[in-house]
Symmetry: C2
């Protein structure tokens, strides 16, 4: 066995791999280990919440707490909506500056520049890459509305939903079905007016949600700057113990793998499509479609057959 | 030749075809004629604008104007973001109630329930269907932010961007690049405060945009309830004449066909994927992925090969 098979990649190597994953290159995933279904040593935390919920401050404190236990932590900030706001994200990251010198904290944003379904490919790939690099805890951060929150929840072991008093996003999140996927609710800015009311409203909605007797009941934790992080950490640990003991972690990681499989399959087909379209025959077909010599539907069928034929001849080689 | 080949479908038949198109069934597209590149008799109007821009009232007046010229009009309301808001859309449509008894006005919403890339398949399919049914003017209506506005613009001959004073969405639209794809700007609610300022701001941004000497320069029209519709109609007619004379319509329809081709190709592959996944071998593969017996990447490759093999055997039959 050569050492390169098992060596933990350097931060620079990891950054390079993540750039390729973020660009939607499926080939880079070929050599990454997948997250074991019963592996309790690695844990994926999804942290979602609307703008102004205080996610960056919260994650900063949580990372500090995890570091105190000697855990290596990777933070992946998922931001699909604004391909051009690298600056804004970076600004956000500056609050986490105290971890910058720490080799055991890896911080990175994932954008998946506008590709359809790109996040469902990039997120599991990035998780595998950071786990392969020895980061035991992975924090997936995203804005708590829309598809990215759903994508983050799909690949997390424990989902935290942050809200702050006066945001009104608890209601909005409820509409989007995000409340149903949260395992721990965090009310940040607990020192502000209305924090207790927000917590009470959340608790009421949790009581009302349909739930079997043995199902996990999400706790509501109040935080303010560093305060309440111990309670949050404790809530995460309780959910983790519950999830591992009751088969939830197993079921989620199975679903995680199947989602990953589907997005990989689509990425391979998309790659084939791009190759077929840019081949000589594909370019001819494209011109015929553009000028109306051939119907788009017929041309689509032709391209499917071209792709299959190309694959056959590749197999024959 | 049987009469069914050339018969114009009834409204009920058309509604049925559109339901199948909206559900992402590519087979229904097989028998639809495509929009001819040089066909100046059919014209596709894209109407986009943020919530509160007054799109429904505007379109209602525009349809009335087109009907006065004896034109048959289809209105396709594109609403991808809210699969559950059929009610809201319907409520919106109620304002167009005066056209309900008119057999020469066809109104329908397209949702493309959450499918990836669904709109880029549904919109061109729906355009073909209503043109085949003899509607010469097609109005594609959508909310002027995000992907649906881009999809609507991609399949339109003339793009109208609506805004109203005080919405601040002119700036927002500019950010999203929507301003760059508008051929006519409409400032609605011209009787409200700030309408002239909004029009002036738009005109300033149009002046600043890079443009070659012979390029179309989008006019800004002020409307209020029925007022200004004659000017809007005139602006559309001028853009249509320009576009047909200067090759823009031709270029756009070429791009329209190529986009349609790509989305059809993806839909065919997706259909194959679903069939492969739900086959006996696909189900086995899925279970192996879920339990970790096989790596998702390897399983994705296996599924691609299964699909290709299934296609080969289909060809052999």
């Amino acid at each position: 066995m050569t050492s390169s098979c098992s060596a933990i990649p350097s931060r620079r190597e990891l950054a390079r791999v993540l750039t390729r994953i973020d660009a939607g290159d499926p080939d880079v995933l070929r050599h990454l280990p997948s997250l074991a279904i019963d592996d309790a040593d690695n844990w994926i935390l999804g942290v979602t919440g609307g703008p102004g919920a205080g996610k960056s401050t919260f994650i900063d404190s949580l990372v500090t707490r995890l570091r105190r236990d000697g855990q290596r932590v990777a933070v992946l900030a998922v931001d699909p909506s604004s391909p051009r706001t690298g600056g804004a994200l970076l600004g956000d990251r500056i609050r986490m500056v105290r971890h910058v010198g720490d080799a055991d904290v890896f911080i990175r944003s994932l954008g998946s520049r506008g590709q359809l379904g790109g996040l469902s490919l990039a997120i599991p790939g990035a998780i595998r890459a950071v786990i392969a690099a020895g980061y035991r805890w992975v924090v997936l951060e995203t804005v708590g509305v829309g598809q990215s929150a759903v994508d983050v929840a799909r690949f997390s072991d424990t989902v935290l939903l942050l809200t702050a008093p006066g945001l009104g996003d608890a209601v909005q999140a409820g509409k989007a079905g995000i409340n149903e996927i949260a395992d721990v609710f965090v009310v940040s800015k607990a020192d502000h007016d209305g924090a207790r009311e927000t917590a009470r409203d959340l608790e009421a909605s949790i009581r009302l949600a349909p739930r079997a007797p043995h199902d996990w009941r999400p706790p509501v934790v109040l935080t303010s700057l560093g305060d309440g992080i111990a309670e949050t950490y404790e809530a995460i640990a309780r959910h983790r113990a519950y999830s591992l003991a009751c088969g939830q972690a197993r079921a989620r990681r199975r679903a995680h793998r199947v989602s990953h499989w589907r997005s990989l399959y689509m990425a391979l087909l998309m790659g084939d499509l791009e190759r077929a379209v840019s081949s000589r025959a594909g370019t001819d077909l494209r011109d015929q479609v553009a000028t109306g010599q051939i119907d788009p539907f017929q041309a689509a069928r032709d391209l499917v057959h071209m792709r299959a034929a190309a694959e056959e001849s590749e197999d024959a080689r």
